[in-house]
C-alpha cells in the first residue's frame, strides 16, 4: 500500500464525515473540524492525554504479559506431541469463547484499578498467540531441526535460534488480528469501576456531560490508539521478519 493512497483514504473519510454532519445537522454529529478543535484543546487543557496514556499502558501491559506467557507455552506445545495432546482439548474449548463475556467476572474478582483491564486484554491475546505459535512451532520441518542439532544445538540453542525466530511472525500475526478486539474490549472494561482511561472519558463526555464534540474527540483518540498499535505491529513485522517480504 502506498502512503499517498492512505492519505487519500483519510481525506475521503473526513469528507464523508463532514457531509454527514451537514446533512444530520444536530449536536450529536459535530463536523470533523469542530471535533479537531476540541481534540486539541482537550489534549492541552483537559486530561485527554492522561486518559490516553492510561489506556495505552493497559493495552501494552496486556500485550507484554500475553506474549511473555503464550509464546513460550506455544513453543512447548508445538515441540511436544504429548503435551499438545493433553492440552489441545482444553484450548479447543476455551479458544472460541468470546473473552468479552468474562468482563463482569474479572471485574467482580479483581475490582477496581488497572489489573482487571490488563487481565481482560491478556485473556483475549493469550489464546490467539498460543494457538498460532503452537501451530507454527509444530510445522517446523524435522530436517531443519535435525540440521541445526547437528551443528551442536541442544534444547536451549534450538529455542534461541530456531523456535524463537520462527514464532515471531506468528506472534505478530496474532497481535495484528487481535489488537483491535483488545482495544474494543478495553473500551467496555473501562466503562466500569474506573475513572481513568478513554472508555471512561468517552462515556462520561457523551452520557453524563452531553459534551458531544469531547465525546468524539475521545472516540478519535481511541481509534488512533487502535490504529497506532496496528501500524506498530506492521512496522515490527517489516523490520523483524524481513525474510517474509523478499521473493
Amino acid at each position: 500500500m502506498k502512503q499517498r493512497d492512505l492519505i487519500y483514504a483519510v481525506v475521503a473519510l473526513l469528507a464523508i464525515w463532514h457531509l454527514a454532519a451537514l446533512v444530520v445537522n444536530r449536536p450529536i454529529l459535530p463536523a470533523p473540524l469542530t471535533v479537531a478543535q476540541v481534540f486539541v484543546s482537550e489534549m492541552y487543557k483537559g486530561d485527554l492525554v492522561g486518559h490516553f496514556l492510561v489506556s495505552l499502558w493497559r493495552v501494552l501491559a496486556g500485550v507484554a504479559i500475553s506474549v511473555g506467557t503464550a509464546a513460550p507455552l506455544g513453543v512447548m506445545l508445538g515441540q511436544s506431541k504429548r503435551l499438545s495432546s493433553i492440552f489441545s482439548p482444553l484450548i479447543y474449548l476455551l479458544y472460541p469463547i468470546p473473552k468479552v463475556v468474562f468482563v463482569p467476572v474479572v471485574l467482580l474478582f479483581l475490582g477496581i484499578g488497572d489489573l482487571p483491564k490488563i487481565v481482560i486484554i491478556f485473556l483475549i491475546l493469550f489464546f490467539q498467540i498460543l494457538v498460532l505459535v503452537r501451530d507454527q512451532a509444530a510445522s517446523l520441518r524435522p530436517e531443519l531441526l535435525m540440521s541445526v542439532s547437528s551443528l551442536g544445538a541442544g534444547r536451549r540453542a534450538l529455542f534461541r535460534y530456531v523456535y524463537l525466530p520462527a514464532s515471531l511472525p506468528a506472534i505478530l500475526t496474532a497481535l495484528r488480528q487481535s489488537v483491535g478486539t483488545a482495544v474494543a474490549v478495553l473500551y467496555i472494561a473501562e466503562l466500569f469501576a474506573t475513572q481513568r482511561g478513554l472508555g471512561y472519558y468517552i462515556y462520561l463526555s457523551g452520557s453524563t456531560l452531553f459534551d458531544y464534540p469531547a465525546m468524539y474527540a475521545g472516540v478519535m483518540t481511541m481509534s488512533l490508539l487502535g490504529l497506532g498499535l496496528y501500524f506498530t505491529v506492521d512496522w515490527l513485522e517489516k523490520r523483524l521478519c524481513k525474510w517474509q517480504f523478499v521473493s
Binding site: 520441518r141 530436517e143 531443519l144 535435525m146 540440521s147 541445526v148 542439532s149 547437528s150 551443528l151 551442536g152 544445538a153 541442544g154 536451549r156 540453542a157 534461541r160 535460534y161 530456531v162 525466530p165 520462527a166 515471531l168 521478519c241 524481513k242 525474510w243 523478499v246 521473493s247
Partner: protein, 260 residues
C-alpha cells in the same frame, strides 16, 4: 574412524531396519551408501550423526560411543536445512553462534584443547568467497536457487572444520549440471579438508562417481552379511565418468539393486 557393531534398530516397535549390522569406515575414506527407498540408508546416517540411537549394538566414532551429535561431524540434508529467516551469511555463521552460545563445553562444541584451530568469524568470509556466495551474502534462502542453497549448507558445515561429513541425498533435487558441479566440489573439498565422507543416495550414478567404497543396502532388515560393500578406487578421478569401468560398475549396481 566409524565402527558400527551388531547394530539393531527399529522405528517404534516396527520391523527391524538393521539387525546385527556391522560396518567400518576408516579415516579419509569416501563412502556412498546406496539403496532403494525405505532401505534404511537415511536411518543409518542419522545413527552416525547421533540424532538416532541404536536399540542394541553400538555406533562408535573415534572409539567413542555416540550419545549426541558430535561437534566435529557435519551433516548436510537434501533440503530445508537452512534457516528461512537468516541470510546466507547468518546461516553460515549459525554453527559458530551456537558454539559461542554454549562455550567450549565438550558436548555442543569441542573442548578448547581438542581443536587447536578453532574456526573464527573470518572463516565465514573465506567460505563465502570459496563457494562463490560472496555476492549472495545478504540474500535469504527463498531468493536462492537450489544449488546456491546447497552451497550455503556446505559452507555452514565446513566452516566448523569437521573431520566427518555426512550427506543425505544432498543433490537429488538439483538439475543435472548443478548436481555434477556440486558433486565435483564435494570431492575436491573432501580431499582438501581431509574429510571422511559418507553420502547416502538412491542414484546409482552418484554412488558410482562419488564413493571410492560403496555400501549397498537392500530391503530391511539389513544384516551383515549379506549387506555388500564394493571397492571403486578410481571414483573422483578426472574423467572417471566417461570410463568403461564406471559404466560397468553402474550396470552391476543396477542389477544388484533390482529385485530378483
Amino acid at each position: 574412524m566409524i565402527e558400527v557393531k551388531n547394530l539393531n534398530y527399529a522405528y517404534n516397535n516396527g520391523p527391524p531396519v538393521f539387525q546385527n549390522f556391522n560396518w567400518t569406515v576408516a579415516q579419509g575414506e569416501t563412502w556412498a551408501v546406496l539403496g532403494p527407498s525405505g532401505c534404511g540408508k537415511s536411518t543409518l546416517l542419522y545413527l552416525l550423526a547421533g540424532l538416532l540411537f541404536p536399540g542394541r549394538g553400538e555406533v562408535r566414532i573415534h572409539g567413542q560411543i555416540l550419545a549426541r551429535p558430535r561437534p566435529r561431524t557435519g551433516l548436510i540434508l537434501q533440503e530445508y536445512g537452512l534457516l528461512p529467516w537468516g541470510t546466507v551469511r547468518q546461516n553460515i555463521e549459525l554453527g559458530l553462534r551456537i558454539r559461542n552460545f554454549y562455550g567450549p563445553d565438550g558436548k555442543h562444541a569441542p573442548l578448547a584443547h581438542q581443536q587447536q584451530d578453532q574456526p573464527t568469524p573470518a572463516d565465514v568470509d573465506d567460505w563465502l568467497a570459496r563457494l562463490g556466495l560472496a555476492k549472495l551474502a545478504d540474500k535469504y534462502p527463498d531468493q536462492l536457487s537450489g544449488g546456491q542453497r546447497q552451497r550455503t549448507a556446505i559452507a555452514r558445515t565446513l566452516v566448523l572444520r569437521p573431520d566427518l561429513l555426512l550427506m543425505d541425498e544432498p543433490f537429488s533435487s538439483l538439475d543435472a549440471p548443478t548436481r555434477e558441479s556440486l558433486q565435483n566440489l564435494t570431492l575436491e573439498l573432501c580431499q582438501e579438508q581431509r574429510l571422511t565422507l559418507v553420502i547416502v543416495t538412491h542414484a546409482i550414478e552418484e554412488a558410482a562417481c562419488l564413493g571410492r567404497k560403496i555400501l549397498l543396502l537392500s530391503q530391511p532388515p539389513n544384516t551383515t552379511p549379506p549387506a555388500t560393500t564394493l571397492d571403486n578406487p578410481n571414483a573422483g578421478q578426472l574423467g572417471y565418468r566417461q570410463t568403461t569401468e564406471y559404466f560397468e560398475l553402474c550396470r552391476s549396481l543396477r542389477s544388484q539393486m533390482e529385485p530378483p
